[in-house]
């Protein structure tokens, strides 16, 4: 299984993170998977063991969404957001905040889907309120006690 796929994560500025990934389908499929709760809760799950028991999406400008994750050990993680721009199937902008607020205030997420020859290039830019906020977010609950692998130095530093 090639989990690595063609995922790249870069830090284009001190306050941003950018995620790129290709999907083997037209943009409307990917857009739906990102915006329909019954689809979101089937994939936005992270490592094995996590589920999304709560997934509510009011897909309109100023509409709210809420995701709550839970893992097998009972750990809980949750975030809420508000849609700022919705342009199916090309673009989605929202403000987001985790309940634990480890990002030091709202983050702004801009997702762009670019379709070409039946495939979709997705770029997801997350803008944090400060550099400290971004770095704090990365050190946070997303981490679930993983083993360190410093040999992957190239991978982080080439980002």
């Amino acid at each position: 299984m090639n989990v690595t796929g063609n995922l790249t994560i870069t830090t284009p500025s001190d306050t941003e993170l950018e995620i790129h990934r290709q999907f083997n389908a037209p943009a409307r499929f990917v857009f739906d998977a990102y915006t329909k709760p019954e689809l979101i809760r089937r994939w936005m799950l992270g490592p094995p063991g996590w589920t999304m028991p709560v997934c509510e999406v009011d897909l309109r400008v100023d509409g709210r969404f809420r995701y709550e994750w839970r893992n097998a050990e009972g750990a809980v993680m949750a975030m809420s957001g508000v849609f700022q721009e919705i342009d199916p199937p090309n673009r989605l902008v929202s403000t987001e905040r985790f309940d634990e607020d480890w990002t030091g205030g709202d983050t702004v997420t801009m997702i762009v889907f670019s379709e070409s020859e039946g495939k979709t290039a997705m770029s997801q830019t997350i803008r944090y309120s400060s550099k400290e906020a971004r770095d704090g977010a990365l050190r946070s609950g997303m981490a679930e006690g993983m083993e360190a692998g410093f040999v992957r130095l190239d991978e982080i530093v080439s980002a």
């Binding site: 995922l7 999907f23 689809l39 799950l45």
Partner: protein
Amino acid sequence: MTPSRLDVTFAALADPTRRAILARLATGEATVNDLVKPFSLSQPAISKHIKVLERAGLVTRGRDAQRRPCRLAAKPLAEATEWLEAYRRFWEHSFHHLDGLIEEMKALEDKSAAERGKGDLR
């Protein structure tokens, strides 16, 4: 790891020469002189890079007053890697699920298109 420590680590890693020095040290300790030749840099230049890496806790130096060999200190590097790696893992796993879901969505649409097609023929 405190945020400031992580900042220092990442700043130290931002330089390609310093990353190359770390890669060299990953294979075993080396003195500043050992590093001069392969990197085609002056001794002061190498020393300067080593100092930055030392400050970031990425390199420790031996007590031998003459040679003071440099060694890779794995812990801060592991912490820095872990930091971004956890994030990457979250999305890697999620996107892997998404790939499967998208195939399912496409198959479903093909199926309903085929069924519609059949209906037209009737």
